[in-house]
């Protein structure tokens, strides 16, 4: 029997298209010939697999047709797990929330600033520099960028800082009363960084003037003072400048006399437009001819650019009182002004040796 005929016979046998006697003969052949039997089974399996494959392909295409009718996109929306509402809120509105938060922060800072200013007595800040405060602030990292580097050795002692300036060559120093108000002891430090012990010889809280005397044995006479003290009142809009220690090194700033009376018409003070900072207090206010016209001392907190200096006439009055109230002789003030006619930078250079950093040591 040829292969092809055998296959045809097998197919007819499987499909049941054989006549009864042919079928019997074929079954007989299967029993006798295991090879033929094997072929029957093999063919049956293979054709079965072909059929199943065909059914599978057909089923898959049916399922695809069904699938194409489903709105998968809508179902995806539904099936996606919703994140917590707060995360959604953030995702949808984070730009708005950020803006609102910024506004809120500005509002709070603004309110705090205004309220803080108002709580200070009459909005008038005396510009003594509180080192303790700075020290903690530096430690807390708040002012690192401002460059407030205070030497540790100094840190452990002095509590307030201000500025003072020489009245005479033998060591009389003028400063503000509020600078040394809480003093236990006072040191003054010159431009070279040398500190001298000083004692308070006169103070007047009313005009905010204090006179110190350097008592340190290491102190050498300063020589003639380059500036003079103006007795009369300076004019409005006169150009003035100051030189002092709002930071550890000397600092220059200038401006004009903006009002001939202080806060609420106080006749002791000038109002000036020279920017002042804590530490400037007690510094000299000089006019362009090199006359001391006042002692700088305060600023207004709720208004920008309003600063105060007490008039030089009150300093002179204090010196008069000094002679009466203490054992110190009435100081002989310099009458020869060597700053007049010099350029501003030359004037400041000459001032260097006569302006001191006042360091105040206080009990806590």
């Amino acid at each position: 029997m040829r292969e092809e005929e055998l296959l045809e016979a097998i197919e007819r046998y499987i499909s049941g298209n054989m006549a009864a006697d042919e079928r019997r003969a074929f079954e007989q052949l299967r029993l006798q010939n295991s090879d033929v039997d094997q072929r029957v089974i093999e063919h049956q399996q293979f054709v079965g697999l072909l059929k199943q494959y065909g059914e599978r392909v057909e089923l898959e295409s049916r399922l695809n047709a069904i699938h194409s009718e489903i709105d998968v996109h809508a179902l995806v929306e539904e099936a996606t797990e919703r994140p917590a509402w707060i995360i959604q809120l953030w995702r949808n509105h984070h730009s708005k929330i950020s803006v609102a938060a910024s506004i809120a922060i500005f509002a709070i800072l603004g309110t705090l600033f205004v309220a803080g200013s108002l709580s200070t007595k009459s909005g008038y800040i005396e510009l003594v520099r509180e080192v303790d405060k700075l020290r903690t602030d530096i430690r807390g990292g708040k002012y690192r960028t401002v460059g407030q580097v205070v030497k540790p050795a100094v840190l452990s002692y002095d509590k307030y800082r201000g500025t003072g300036f020489a009245i005479t060559g033998n060591g009389l120093i003028a400063t503000n009363f509020h600078v040394i108000e809480k003093a236990d002891s006072v040191y003054v430090q010159n431009a070279a960084g040398k500190s001298y012990r000083a004692k308070l010889v006169y103070s007047d809280a009313n005009s905010d003037v204090a006179i110190l005397k350097i008592t340190d044995t290491a102190f050498r006479n300063l020589g003639p003072i380059p500036y003079t003290f103006k007795k009369s009142e300076s004019d409005l809009a006169e150009s003035v400048f100051t030189y002092g220690f709002p930071q550890d090194s000397a600092h220059y700033d200038d401006g004009r006399i903006t009002q001939q009376s202080g806060l609420n018409g106080d006749s002791i003070d000038y109002q000036i437009s020279v920017p002042l900072n804590p530490g400037n207090s007690g510094g000299p206010l000089l006019d362009s001819h090199g006359n001391v016209v006042g002692v700088v001392k305060a600023r207004l907190t709720q208004q920008q650019g309003v600063y105060f200096a007490s008039k030089s006439s009150y300093l002179l009055a204090a010196l008069d009182s000094l002679a009466q109230d203490s054992t110190i002789k009435k100081p002989v003030l310099n009458s020869k002004n060597t700053l007049s006619g010099l350029s501003r930078s030359q004037q400041v250079k000459k001032l260097r040796n006569y302006v001191f950093l006042v360091k105040v040591y206080a009990k806590n």
Binding site: E3, L49, K51, T80
Partner: protein, 189 residues
């Protein structure tokens, strides 16, 4: 899932009888009713909607064959069975892609279906071999084989379609084609 799909959910026995009676609507209702459940499973376990389609269709085919074979025992709901098969298939797929973190987020109860999935896997392997063998066979053999063995057309039809002058030529051609197909099929590993 919304109320509409709940109302439309067919009962299990409806589906089983429908499939046994070759009802087109039964399989469609089954498919539509449970696809969202599987979609939810897949896309919440780092899959895409297309993955969901593949996995779900495979599972539906497993269920369909099980029902057709008549050995579907109603010891679990169709829904649970489908979910379990999809879950199993997706776990396998994830570990093949080595994307499986060892933690699958579940949304339904499930039953063990390892045997069914393994059987199906074996069958799929055979089918893909058949598919590529048929692909390699070329025309007209492919069409002759498909017409005769899959679509159950008579040799007479096939003669006319391919313009063979007599049935014997066609039979010889069919025989040669089948021999080649067998060879191609068994050659594959």
């Amino acid at each position: 899932m919304n109320k509409e799909s709940k109302i439309a959910t067919p009962t299990d026995s409806e589906i089983v009888f429908g499939i046994l009676n070759n009802s087109e609507s039964a399989i469609k209702r089954l498919y539509v009713a449970y696809f969202p459940m599987v979609l939810q499973l897949i896309i919440n376990n780092s899959g895409t909607p297309d993955d969901a389609k593949d996995i779900y269709q495979e599972a539906v085919i497993v269920l369909y064959n099980k029902i057709k074979k008549g050995d579907f025992e109603l010891n679990s709901k169709l829904k649970t069975f489908l979910y379990s098969v999809c879950r199993r298939l997706w776990l396998k797929r994830l570990s093949q892609m080595s994307r499986y973190g060892g933690d699958l987020k579940d949304f339904q109860e499930h039953v063990p279906v390892e045997d069914e999935v393994e059987d199906e896997n074996e069958r799929n392997l055979q089918f893909s071999k058949m598919q590529s063998a048929l692909g390699l066979l070329g025309e007209p053999c492919k069409t002759i084989i498909e017409d005769f063995y899959i679509n159950n057309r008579s040799m007479q039809d096939i003669c006319e379609r391919f313009g063979y002058t007599n049935a014997d030529n066609a039979k010889t051609q069919k025989y040669k084609c089948l021999q080649r197909l067998k060879k191609l099929f068994f050659q594959q590993k």
